[in-house]
Symmetry: C2
Subunit: 353 residues, 2 copies
């Protein structure tokens, strides 16, 4: 298992450490600069382990807290802690904490220093790596954000000890998604019965895949070829629309991604891109982990909101609806042509199977 990675994301260098224990404060800030440690009430006990005597910036937990008011709280704490332009922001928590801390760091005096300690499987597999920061606005996920990769990221098995079962499940969806993008080896690993024992191996492979894709297309501007960073959105076009239509917080992000990835495989099958046996295997692995994979989704009573969210999806480019779908190997991006616009709605209705 690879325990250390160095990536270059559009001029920002990011180092990732896969390890057993939480880092000490000296490891996180060897240069002993002024810092602010940001956590939420769920991760406060971990934060105290790292910086027992230091003032903490403790946010309310939950996706609902991912809003400007929390960014302002972090900025106020930073100001009160006397951080200058070279001050260090440490975000310790799930994706909400890491995204908010990273956004605040990116705008504080036009950019401080950022280090992250993701404490959920989802944040390790997704939010903490790759430089996307953001918060929700007007009910839209991450409508405001920046590109600001952390300098160092510590992914520690110890942090997962206290993780609730729902959080495991949520994180696994992103890992399975990444395995689908990667290839057979990684897919077999997530499909194996002992995955919890090998979880840091999954985290490490996931970081390798995501890091490689983001290095090649840090700001998701690639628009041709195999899709660049947009590949990581496999399952997210359908998934985000589902989250939006149900209202934020009704299902976890992982559940949305799992359901969305199965839909993407369905769309790929109809388009002749995803081999039927691969679509089957993808549905199978998500079902095995207990995800809802059926179309129509049992909680979705009305497709109007869903289709509106799908059309407003910020991943759309140049008018043609774009989707990421699994291919024979890995995943590719496709644009729907004239006459295919009805397909997404047919897919979520369950008209194809």
């Amino acid at each position: 298992m690879k325990e250390e990675f160095s990536f270059n994301f559009g001029g920002f260098s990011s180092r990732v450490f896969i390890r057993e224990n939480l880092p000490s404060l000296d490891e996180v800030i060897p240069e002993k600069r002024r810092f602010l440690l940001v956590c939420d009430r769920n991760t406060e006990f971990l934060a105290r382990k790292i910086a027992s005597g230091s003032p903490l910036c403790v946010l309310p937990p939950g996706e609902n807290a991912k809003e400007w008011a929390q960014v302002e709280t972090i900025l106020r704490c930073a100001r009160e802690a006397g951080l200058g332009r070279d001050g260090v922001f440490i975000g310790l928590g799930g994706g909400v904490v890491t995204d908010l801390t990273a956004f605040a760091a990116s705008v504080y005096m036009r950019g401080g220093s950022l280090r992250l300690v993701p404490t959920t499987l989802l944040a390790m597999a997704d939010a903490a790596l790759g430089g996307k920061t953001g918060f929700d606005l007007f009910g839209i996920k991450n409508l405001a954000g920046t590109f600001f990769p952390a300098e160092t990221i510590y992914m520690c098995r110890q942090a997962l000890d206290s993780l609730p079962e729902t959080e495991w499940k949520s994180g696994m969806a992103e890992i399975i998604k990444t395995a689908i993008i990667d290839g057979e080896d990684f897919f077999s690993l997530v499909n194996s019965p002992s995955v919890k024992d090998n979880i840091m191996e999954c985290v490490s492979r996931s970081a390798a895949v995501k890091g490689r894709i983001v290095e090649a297309d840090p700001r998701e501007t690639a628009d041709s070829g195999n899709g660049g960073r947009a590949l990581l959105n496999l399952g997210h076009t359908f998934g985000h629309a589902l989250e939006s239509a149900l209202g934020l917080g009704r299902i976890t992000h992982g559940e949305a991604v799992a359901w969305g990835t199965v839909r993407a495989a369905g769309l790929g099958k109809v388009l002749g891109i995803t081999p039927p046996e691969r679509a089957e295997a993808i549905g199978g692995v998500f079902k095995k982990y207990g995800y809802e994979t059926a179309a129509p989704h049992p909680l979705l009573k009305d497709n109007t909101e869903f289709m509106k969210a799908l059309e407003g999806d910020k991943k759309r480019k140049g008018g043609k609806p774009r989707f990421i779908v699994p291919a024979g190997q890995g995943a590719i991006q496709v644009y729907l042509e004239k006459g295919q616009e009805h397909l997404p709605e047919a897919i979520i209705r369950g008209s194809y199977s």
Copy 2:
């Protein structure tokens, strides 16, 4: 006079046009993408000339409006106008409008497209060029911001037709400051009696100087040699502290910069860096334009707030107070050594002249 510049600011390309008339909408957005035109109530009439039939995002005018609530207004307007990731933000106004629009553009879906039409001399000389965006928070100027250069910037003499006299004066201070950083030629131009007739020549030279400095050090990270982008802060360390101590809005930014530049020349003289005749000439040109140049400043009753603001200045690095002072030619950065820490306060008290 040079009428077109192309700069590369840390990977972002910026083109500047110095011209007579406001651009048409087709000139600003030749590719006809979705856009949002942001202005304030003072520049609304100019905005209507450019985009007569389009919805505008009209902000309240004034430095007091440079806060998150206005950023949120711009983001809401952008969302309502249906801007996607490739949407274009056009900021038309003074520095508050251009800074706010640029910040909003930089965070909208993690970065839209930005074009600026500065309408004040100050915004042409300073805010619109070079990629600094921001807004005030907790009473601190630009505490939150990003680095996000505009793709195109139109500096048009026509926009200055309706500029109030106080705005001329405010802008001239930045132009004089830039001339001091540049050299004798430019300094003679701003010292000439017909400067208003040659104002676009001044704007063009100012853009050339600022662009060159920012290209060499886009994110103000240079910390050695002649000072990099920090050189542009000539007069700003003292000036910002004065603005802070008096309370935002009591004097214009230009008045603060003028007064601060004369103080910087005074500090340089005491340190043996600024030749006495140059310090004299610098004081003279600001006086000629009607700026308050005396120390102590007649509005500043108490130095405590001033010194607190000076010490909290975000331009400080690594503990040693840093100042930009005029040299025999141009300007350089200096760090105060042990035993010199009392100098700034002595300078603002007028203990040296």
